[in-house]
Symmetry: D2
Subunit: 426 residues, 4 copies
């Protein structure tokens, strides 16, 4: 099969909704850790990593081996929400490796297999347990495409997809969203004023780092203040750690060490370890008032994902070495990005951990940088309200040299931009 | 690992929302075609088939082989919506084997990987293209658990999970839902009356056979009449073929041969062939007005599912032999169920194709029948507003003898019920 | 001032929303009982009566005298919700003359001064006391133009005025709305089916006779059955007696003698007796859980209306003679309308009491009949989903001869229609 | 009739929703200009003025005379929306005296007779003309009690009356609502950010001075900036001048001289001049896209109000002397209130024109001040989110000496508070 053929079939049969393939119009055939290979045998370094769904890289050999073994043994593939070995082993590993060492006591809810299902389950449970309707979400937040989660998503383009007005969500500025405005103080003032018109909220729904919204990273002080405010007003904290969690910022949860105890934690993306569809909701045990089957779904029992997720936990989280490696890479990333940002007047470093990028000030420039990178074998994307942030989301497992060479490509692309702009200005 | 350990971990760590595992409290270790095996080595015939997600049975050897080969070759696992070999091959197979022979012209939208994502995408697109808000859904309809799809789901228990009032959906009686009421005439009267208070609808959202709602099967006349009414009033038909499609009633689509051309067709469940999370939306080409990324999602590129789905299409749908086999089994099923129904005064045969069951008149009796079946090695579940329908959803690939022996168990369980009721009455 | 001037000013300065003046394009200067006089001195018999706001006719001399006396004495005009003599006297008269003799125990809530305010207050209170959202309203119902009441109004044209989708209301067929459908049985089936998708309602909101919707009159059996169903499902009955009440059908309340005890009764239109803005909500005492000022409004204390309303109660309702006179006129009206209806093949008599009319089968014909009547000095309007009902809403106080002569004009207009149609057909 | 009787009837028969009568538990019998007289003959100075519905005082002799003459001549009382002399004369006076001299070109829409009807009509038309749903309203805003207007009202107590969640409105801080936050900059940032989650608004709905919300007065710069922002984003400005308009701040409209051209202006309260129920909506002519009867209502033709409103316009607005008198009184009021505020540490002067008051820092203290005033013959009320503002809303026509003596009572009451607090503290 040639690329040409492939492209034709998409034009002919795939919906216009498709997007990434437009920026990277080749056919990918193979993938290993941080490297994608196209059908012509060309290799690309992956700084997109499935939008943080591939924190452990593509096709981790241990996960792959375990999955092949499971398949070969006719292990259960689709298990609804029935008991299976793979499920029990995942749950036990999650309890032993993740929850216990962090002194976290949560119930695990297997929602539908993608992030938006976990967010919807969280929103439903927050409303159900509090008897309130309003969810407070934040500027630039991204939570999913189904009606409930979409109402909490800020992006106007995505919202327009609904074809109708989205309700039940009140919007507040994220930390730092408004120059000169103390967002937390403003939210507090709105909630403390009985005539503000803001109804008592069921929950705050927030990402510790806004991946799609432009790599805005909330401080521990902000999140802690929000948690205090939530407690005061009888509201829950839904900490959407779908993109920032599972090690992306260093620790397993992105909010570790901040003194935060979220009430509900939606997880997805890298949860399966291998990029398989898998999402879950961590629930403070006393809030787990679901009746049996009150929230169900066909693919809650993706046992392939249970197998690889369990391997991922055992392999990467049994001690703190993976976290330390990530933090070291993140420090290197910060250093390199600072150097690159220094080349673009007015640009800003954004994000935290292995979820950093550069706000280059315009979506056009960011797009050009990414296009140039792709020409040189680097897959990298933008984020932000104006797509103005060039975002590095490399697999956490990327070899140091590949991380460096990828950043070299990025640096050259930014430099070329500067040169071409200077030329244009002359 | 012992069963005891497994059960403890669920009690300790899984949300109360879990359900099927309560009725079948064993740990399943292996699965092959229509047979599940528990950790003690006991075998069960599967008349549930992942709620119609396993129409080709568990772990089909050809799909399994193809998936292992894909894994071994480091084929792309998670591909966002980028071009991959597996995706192109799936799309081409779908076009060649499904669309062309049926003279169907649709775009394929890769929504999130579960049915509710496809339904939400359909509802959004219907509203967006028509500029209208109201979706007309039907009594006993089941469409998913996210806010948009849940609004269209009839079940009060599921709706209560929302914790808030669900809007945007108007409810009409499904064919036969009201004794003595011609549902279609009633819907027509409501839409034709400009003071009825029913706003011009964006779409009708309907299942050709209501799987969860009690195996209610709409006639071709009803669906055709609905389509005519939709055309007259500028509304779309969203034909939710998630549970009834992919061969469950015989043909690939459950509405084949009825003269129906739905505008939007959500698919999921058995689409991947192997029970992997995969959903899609077929879109009438002129309605495909999505902007790039207007509806996105992390797991739209589950390449494992593309691989197995393609194998499934090639293996089962390249000619009509599979459909004929299914129809033959369905005829046998009808015959056996008629015999069983005759044993329960007032009971009724429900459904169509390999999606049939018996309304035994009470949820308690249906639950007892299912529990007795499970004791004898048959996994079978109920459906309906009062869980009053014992539902046979065996894999279409089930060997004839196993279908027969499973029905023997069911027959015996129903007979035992009759006996015990008679005894109780004496 | 000439008429010309007047008409100009409307074209120049009044919103396009104006309507009745388009059908009756003269300037009215005086009004006494059932007679309106225009600025040219021409007299018209009023079969519209302010859409049932002038049940006692225009400018009743006793009400007028009392109001002039109140004005002359500098009685309070605008009293917010403070205690005034006029208010106390109205409340005492209402208790003594209306509530006590009927053994009705209700609290009186002074809502804003027009019907929609009373309906909104009722909807709010029904939701607040039940903790439920859904109000079940009926095909062809008319309840007002503000967002809450408009959601319950059926007319598509009025609904379009909202510019947005109206929520919180589920629509059911009114008695007789669907040929061959037992509306009550259908509603019962929908509420008894836990998977119908109809959420448990806060209330049924219904007009005993639908004035705007086409003079559809519910039977006592239907209303009683609805009340039983409401009790069973924990819902309230809001009996909107705004147009049908205050004597229009004979008794003070249109549902008297049917064994109905509504939970909430919005009143307006003829409540003030003289056409002054005045509305109220009767509340079953245990449902009166409003906090002080929880529902307020500037014009709840229209003392002029209290004065005239009190006079109306004392003058017309101290004994049953007025009701008997109305019933006698209604019998005469029925007889005459039967005669007229007999002249139009396929036409139907609609309504009850002094709220009757003829469905002539088409809005065009009804409009022509009304236009012809106006040419001959009779003000009469249409109602119904297609404006197909010629509606007689004469003041209840209309002299018998004037009623007769008005009906003569109507009869002649209908006859002329028949003649012209016959001619056209020839 | 004794007071005792009166009070009993309210307890027995009036809804708990009643409020002002609780603070002023006497029965008022007469009212003239700024003086109310109770049934025992005691007089009170009225600093409440029907919440600004009696800007020209109670029972203005000229309006009274005109109304008695209209009654005596059997002028039309209730005219639906038909042409009458009284209506034409009102419209012509409004055009000649109000619109033309101010170079304002608006259509007048006769909505239902109270403020909330005018606000609802404005919200509907804004949504209808823009095709958008979201109305941006402000903290502490007050717009009415029907579902649409209530959604825009900030007060939590009022909102709780809905018994359901109110949608379609996004809340922004009013000028000065948040310490250290530039409200206009914040709103601009939210609208300019395409990922803020704030949908493009149909309109801003704002009161130039927030009467109920605590006498917060927006500056011309803020309102002008808002208008510029609205123009930029294709949104309308709905200037709710119901309480602040009709001369309350000096000029006829409270926003005169600020360079503001609102798109829609709801008016009510003092519009009739005499406290009769009357509301209207001024519409920018090109936005007047209503279809005939698209928004209707029973009491749009309250001819008594047309008569008195016309007299009010002719008497008070034919030249600028009334405005100048009001401004002189307002200057005196400012001076006196500054003196009184100086007696309460931390208190603040609020408001503008004859709509000023003192924020005394606590609702308890404000209530005690008002209670003491009432004991000394002054009717005065609080406003604000915590009822912390003692609000002076005297008739604009109040004689200077009576204004002075009323303020003497207020000053003494505040002084007494100070003394008692000092005593309590000692």
């Amino acid at each position: 099969m040639t690329i040409g053929t492939n492209t034709d079939i998409y034009t002919r049969r795939e919906s216009q909704a498709r997007s990434y393939c437009r920026a990277f119009p080749v056919t990918f055939s193979k993938a290993q850790n941080a490297t994608l290979t196209d059908s012509d045998g060309r290799s690309y370094t992956d700084f997109l990593a499935g939008c943080s769904s591939l924190n452990y890289g593509h096709n981790d050999p241990d996960m792959k081996e375990a999955l092949i073994a499971h398949l070969a043994a006719d292990g259960v593939t689709h298990g609804l929400d029935m008991h299976t070995n793979a499920k029990a082993e995942f749950l036990e590993a999650f309890e032993r490796i993740i929850l216990k060492p962090r002194d976290m006591d949560y119930k695990f809810m297997f929602t539908g297999p993608t992030g938006t299902n976990a967010v919807e389950a969280a929103m439903k449970l927050a409303r159900k347990t509090t008897g309130r309707d309003t969810i407070i979400a934040f500027t630039n937040g991204f939570h999913g495409m189904t009606m409930g989660a979409l109402a909490a998503t800020g992006n106007a383009g995505k919202r327009a997809g609904a074809g109708t007005t989205l309700g039940g969500v009140v919007r507040m500025p994220y930390e730092g969203a408004m120059d000169g405005v103390d967002s937390l103080a403003m939210i507090r003032a709105m909630l403390d004023n009985p005539s503000s018109g803001i109804d008592a909220p069921a929950a705050f729904l927030i990402e510790p780092v806004q991946g799609e919204g432009g790599l805005n990273a909330a401080s521990g002080a902000f999140l802690k203040g929000l948690q205090d405010l939530a407690r005061k007003h009888g509201a829950l904290i839904i900490m959407d750690d779908i993109q920032a969690g599972i090690g992306r910022t260093g620790p397993f949860f992105s909010f570790e060490g901040m003194g935060i105890k979220p009430d509900l934690i939606p997880l997805a993306k890298s949860l399966s370890g291998m990029g398989l569809p898998f999402a879950g909701l961590l629930i403070r045990p006393d809030l787990d008032i679901w009746k049996p089957a009150e929230h169900n779904g066909t693919f809650r029992g993706n046992n392939h994902a249970f197998v690889t997720a369990r391997v991922a936990l055992e392999k990467f989280w049994s001690d703190d070495s993976f976290q330390r490696q990530t933090e070291a890479k993140a420090a290197y990333l910060t250093e390199r990005l600072q150097g690159i940002a220094a080349m673009v007047p007015g640009s800003k470093l954004k994000g935290r951990g292995m979820m950093q990028g550069i706000d280059v000030g315009s979506g056009d420039m960011a797009a050009e940088v990414c296009a140039t990178c792709f020409e040189h074998g680097l897959i990298i994307e933008t984020s932000g309200a104006h797509d103005e942030v060039v975002k590095v989301l490399a697999p956490l497992t990327i070899p140091q040299e590949q991380l460096a060479s990828g950043l070299d490509i990025l640096e050259a692309a930014v430099k070329a931009q500067g040169a071409s702009h200077q030329i244009a200005a002359e």
